[in-house]
Symmetry: C2
Subunit: 218 residues, 2 copies
């Protein structure tokens, strides 16, 4: 028996390979359309062999989503939190999220598209973490507003719009495209910041200023 049981290192390697294969196949075909046999085939295990490592398809889905949230929190949120200036914080967040998405979007795409495959409890956990991510973007926009550096926009719609721009990248970005990966990410950061950050000086000139002045005068 013990000869058939993988060592700890082998077990970890095999588990990682299973999660990677499952993420790729879920991404290509969708969670519902993927059978556990296809995942077993992809990692050269029998179905019974696969169940040595995992409890089932739903556990794999939850594991992949948790991994994607770990990545977002570790590589994006953590890094952005270190920035004091709200504009720099937002640029850091967009750039880091863009880097993750253009590196390998399968887990991040599953995170967004397959929520209804989870149990009630699992979904509550993942949605809670997603909400915290959204709240961080929105609070960064409100920090800009507090400094008079936000356009006259709703911060919730602003946060969703930034997220939409960044997430959509996974659908059109091609590594062999006309622009390099860094160029694409820079462009997106510039476009997203342009969408929400007030132009320097624009608040002190033009119609806006005159209107404000009229309101402030007795």
């Amino acid at each position: 028996m013990s000869g058939e049981t993988p060592s700890l290192d082998e077990g970890i390697d095999k588990s990682a390979a299973i999660y990677q294969a499952a993420a790729r196949i879920f991404h290509e075909k969708g969670y519902h359309a993927t059978s556990i046999n296809e995942i077993a085939d992809a990692v050269q295990l029998t179905k019974a062999g696969l169940y040595y490592y995992i409890r089932g398809k739903q556990e794999l889905l939850f594991g992949i989503m948790s991994y994607a949230m770990d990545q977002l929190e570790m590589h994006v949120l953590e890094r952005a939190r270190g920035e004091q200036d709200p504009e720099t914080r937002l640029r850091t967040l967009i750039t880091a999220h863009g880097r993750l998405i253009t590196a390998d979007s399968s887990a991040l795409t599953i995170l967004v598209n397959e929520l209804e495959g989870l149990t009630h409890e699992q979904r509550r956990e993942i949605v809670g973490r997603q909400r915290a991510y959204m709240d961080f973007i929105r609070s960064t926009l409100e920090a800009l507003r507090a400094e008079g550096r936000l356009r006259d926009i709703d911060s919730t719609v602003g946060a969703f719009s930034i997220l939409g721009m960044v997430l959509w990248t996974s659908r059109w970005y091609r590594p062999d495209g006309r622009l390099s990966r860094d160029q694409v990410i820079d462009e997106i950061a510039n476009i997203a910041l342009g969408a929400v950050v007030a132009e320097r000086g624009s608040q002190r000139a033009g119609t806006g200023f005159v209107e404000t002045l009229h309101k402030e005068l007795p």
Copy 2:
């Protein structure tokens, strides 16, 4: 036999009901996970009865995507094409697309997510129409550039970013939310235009102008 055959009007009504039911179920479960039996059940037909109206699941998918492209072309492209000023054209496009998406996003979402379910020929047709839509947005951005009214951005990334913002709305917009539908659409149009349109006067003042001047000087 003739007594069992629906009249032309009945046939058209039933076909419409089948496409609507299929769009809803594909949207909820994904194309691959939906069986032809579920669609038949939803419109109270037997599987054989359903095949009186349609040739199969793939034809339904192609029909739904073609319908969604018809909607985009008729209600968004046509309307935007009527606008001479590129900024007004872009605002018209975003607003009209936003209205379609917040009315009923199922066909539009399927259009974006289920391309790989089509045959090669069908996919080529749909992708060609999607590309024409993208080209229209990009050419509108280039028209803004020609008038010196585009920010210093890549028009392809700009067009994809606008599309991402608008499409993402279908994932977060709730009819019973804090903002009305019109408010949400207005906010998105403002944010998207802010992302790409250069502020009036900003090109003639500030660092940008000085830098340009330095580059142009010998």
